[in-house]
């Protein structure tokens, strides 16, 4: 047998260590358990630390490879953005690095404008990487997002049918990213899909929708939004009302006037007043003056701001009483309006200041006058 052929362990080595181990190993069962626990914890701690070092090392290596890749491709991208032809020779692109390529391409696109972006788009198509972006749309969340970002930069309606199904994706980030890509391709067509869908998507946060509306532009937003607001009975549509401020005020004005006429909820009135503020139509003055008497301070503030936009030099009498308004914000806005009235002079403002009885109104006007001087 093998064990018989092996030299026997010398007694001074094996026996001594066994004796030493037995002398320190406790006889008490509880202590033995504690020692097992401690050894287990120690081993676990070392394993965790090993993992820390391993993860650190992997991340360092990945960062270094990525750095090399970027250094190789950055000059190529720079040349692509400068000329209409694809620079030759193109560096070889291993299959495993196609994702890095698209990430770097997306990042470069963010830094470019105008013709340079167009040239970069042409280069991407020439290299066949648009097809890889389409493949990514079928991958996991991260891949989908990289693909969508790439197609957003391309903004080619030819890919519409590949992107549109992702608008109803359960993942919020993916659905909003696809909305952004569709807007880049065709804003008007995209908003006709996005706004009706937004009614039933409470997970699409309003600031994100506002950002999409800004990207699409008011021409694309107004009509589908008005249809979504009036053409549906779903109470959730009310959530979209604040988006009207991103629409064309000329088209939103009838809606706004109707809300003012029916004395809608304060939140809707504020949006209506903001629309009329943008429009700046003097024929709305009567409506604005009526809203100035509203019991809700935010409505008064919105009416005041709308009136300020179309104020005339002789409108000081309109704003002076508002310096005594119970709302701090209305007082400040009234003071700002007075201080910036057309033709207002320091002397004229001083005269107005002397007429103010309300202490808080005086404070507000003093501040506004100082700001104007600045």
């Amino acid at each position: 047998m093998l064990s018989e052929r092996l030299p026997a362990c010398p007694a001074w080595l094996c026996e001594t260590s066994r004796q030493a181990w037995l002398s320190i190993w406790p006889e008490d069962a509880m202590l033995q358990l504690a020692l097992y626990c401690a050894l287990g914890l120690g081993a676990l701690t070392l394993l965790v630390m090993l993992q820390v070092m391993l993860l650190g090392e992997l991340a360092r290596r990945r960062a270094s490879r990525r750095q090399q890749f970027n250094e190789q491709w950055r000059p190529f991208f720079a040349l692509c953005s400068l000329g209409d032809e694809l620079p030759a020779p193109a560096p070889t692109l291993p299959r495993g690095q196609q994702l890095w390529f698209l990430l770097q391409w997306n990042r470069t696109q963010l830094q470019l404008r105008g013709a340079a972006r167009e040239r970069m788009n042409r280069a991407l198509v020439a290299l066949g990487m648009d097809q890889h972006a389409l493949v990514l749309l079928r991958g996991r969340v991260r891949s989908k997002l990289i693909g969508l970002t790439c197609l957003r930069h391309l903004a080619d309606p030819a890919y519409w049918n590949d992107v549109q199904p992702l608008l109803v994706n359960r993942n919020v980030t993916v659905s909003l990213a696809s909305a952004q890509t569709l807007i880049a391709m065709d804003a008007t067509r995209a908003m006709q899909l996005i706004l009706p869908a937004a009614v039933s998507r409470p997970d699409w946060a309003l600031p994100r929708l506002a950002s999409l509306c800004q990207q699409a532009g008011e021409q694309a937003v107004t009509l589908p939004l008005l249809i979504a607001l009036s053409g549906s009975e779903d109470p959730r549509r009310e959530r979209l009302v604040p988006l009207l401020v991103h629409g064309d005020p000329r088209h939103a004005a009838p809606w706004a006037r109707a809300r003012l006429a029916e004395d809608a909820a304060p939140e809707q009135l504020q949006v209506a007043l903001r629309c009329l503020c943008e429009l700046g139509d003097p024929r709305d003055r009567g409506r604005l003056l009526r809203a100035l008497q509203h019991s809700h301070a935010d409505v008064r503030l919105a009416a005041l701001q709308a009136l300020h936009k179309q104020a005339r030099s002789d409108d000081s009498a309109l704003f002076m009483p508002l310096l005594g308004d119970p709302s701090w914000w209305v007082r400040q806005a009234a003071a700002d309006s007075l201080a910036t009235l057309p033709g207002a002079t320091p002397e004229g403002l001083q005269m107005l200041f002397r007429q103010v009885q309300d202490r808080y109104g005086q404070d507000a006007l003093r501040r506004a006058m100082a700001e104007v001087k600045r």
Binding site: P26, D28, E57, A59, R208
Partner: protein, 467 residues
């Protein structure tokens, strides 16, 4: 039959320590899941936080008391933040040094007649200044009233709907505001969001920005780095998905101003005003059944200078413990209310059992086991079991903090730094942790004896001010 109370007591202490560390391990697992999902989401959004163009404007409130050495750098760093629209409001809370003079000289401040909206109470304001160099910088000079009082004055002066409370001895990473505002954009129910605070001692700071993270030569500061990693990366991150974050560090947190005003602003009769406000926000929204979210984000990083001497560190820890005890005791009803939810039924008992009275039990445990062993009442086996489990679990938890850091942000990139932190994670369990327990018990005593609170004056190195 005689009742072996000593045996049961020994067992009780060992079980408490097991439970304490077991719960922390559970929290650690939750944090790991939460962090993985956050990192994935961040990768989806992109490494660089995007401007959407719809970010709400933010008022950065910076209370300052005797900060002449660092205030120049801190304000300058705030003014260079990447954010579409923000203002910086420095509140000089009756400093006795040259803080105001430094600000006036550095930023060309001129008096500005500005009425303050008295939505929350605070000590009288002596003057308001605006900068002639930076349109978005104002300084409020007021009578001394403490940090919470200064923040209340800042809330009244803030012009925007969101405010970010920042310590005057801190510097923010450039995109911190952009990142910490994301929960407000993603979920309209968000009322507060807090970010991670890291220790800047030993790091390279230039022009108000942290250029490279490094480890300090001071051992006390190194221990605190491990401690902060543990406290932030699983002490708070684990609670966030359950909407049960009870602490948003006063050093860096973003709040909805109107909601804070609705709960009466910061309380001035507590030293832990930051935690107190968050717990009050929970209570307010739960009692009124208003949907809300309070989030903690692991990566909007705020760098701060930590104490490097035992005296200052001890005072700081006692103060924190006092603040914790005040907040938890004042809002005990949250736990016993039908509407308490996860913050009341889970986070409050956890904090009470392990953070509030934990140091006391720990101290009594150490005292009983060691004293009992000396007197021959506690067996060698029980003492060894107690120490092995307590210390072993402590080390494992600290090393897990390092794992979370490596999995996520890798602020400390060098191998040598990680090995040093590992060493600290081991060594802190032999003396430092016990010292911390003593300081925290002192804080509990101060809370119990109703000692008067005051600003936590800290000895500054002033190194940032020279950069």
């Amino acid at each position: 039959m005689t009742f072996d109370w000593l045996g049961w007591l020994q067992l009780g202490f060992i079980l408490y320590f097991l439970l304490l560390n077991g719960m922390y391990l559970l929290l650690n697992v939750l944090s790991m899941a939460s962090l993985t999902s956050y990192i994935r989401q961040r990768a989806e959004i992109g490494e660089i936080a995007p401007y959407l163009g719809v970010e709400p404007p933010v008022s950065v409130l910076m209370p300052a008391f005797n900060e002449e050495t660092t205030i120049r750098t801190s304000v300058r760093s705030m003014l260079q933040l990447q954010y579409p629209e923000f203002e910086v409001v420095v509140i000089n809370d009756g400093s006795k040094d040259n803080t105001l003079a430094v600000l006036i000289e550095e930023f060309e401040l001129v008096p500005h007649p500005e009425p303050l909206r008295q939505a929350v109470a605070h000590q009288p304001v002596q003057a308001i200044y605006r900068s002639r160099r930076y349109a978005n910088l104002r300084v409020i000079d007021k009578a001394n009233g403490g940090k919470a009082d200064a923040l209340n004055a800042g809330i009244n002066a803030a012009r925007h709907g969101l405010f970010c409370g920042v310590d005057a001895d801190s510097i923010l990473q450039r995109d911190s505001l952009l990142r910490v505002v994301q929960p407000f954009l993603e979920d309209e129910r968000t009322v507060a969001a807090g970010g991670t605070v890291r220790i800047a001692n030993g790091s390279e700071v230039r022009g108000g920005f942290l250029i490279r993270a490094g480890l300090p030569s001071n051992w006390l500061a190194r221990f605190q780095i491990v401690e902060y990693l543990r406290a932030f990366l699983f002490g708070r991150l684990g609670w966030s998905p359950m909407n049960a974050v009870l602490i948003i560090s006063g050093a860096f947190g973003l709040f909805d101003k109107e909601r804070v005003m609705a709960v009466g602003g910061y309380r001035t009769d507590t030293v832990g005003e930051d935690m107190e406000l968050v717990v009050r926000l929970h209570r307010y929204h739960r009692e009124k059944r208003i949907p809300y979210r309070i989030r903690y984000l692991p990566d909007p990083i705020c760098w701060t200078e930590c104490p490097e001497d035992l005296g200052t560190l001890g005072r700081q820890r006692s103060r924190w413990q006092r603040g914790l005890a005040e907040s938890l005791s004042r809002h005990a009803r949250l736990a016993f209310s039908l509407r308490g939810g996860t913050p009341g039924w889970l986070a409050w008992p956890f904090m009470t059992l392990f953070e509030w009275i934990g140091p006391l039990i720990e101290l009594v445990g150490y005292g009983f086991m060691i004293g009992g062993f000396v007197m021959g009442v506690v067996s060698y086996a029980a003492l060894a079991a107690f120490l092995l489990v307590a210390i072993g679990m402590g080390i494992l938890l600290s090393v897990n903090g390092l794992l979370l850091e490596t999995m996520s942000f890798r602020v400390y990139e060098r191998r040598r730094d990680m090995l040093r932190l590992f060493l600290m994670a081991v060594l802190e369990n032999f003396g430092y942790r016990q010292l911390n327990t003593l300081w925290r018990c002192r804080g509990l005593w101060q809370w119990f004896s109703r000692r008067k609170h005051h600003w936590g004056a800290m000895r500054r190195s002033g190194r940032w001010g020279q950069s």
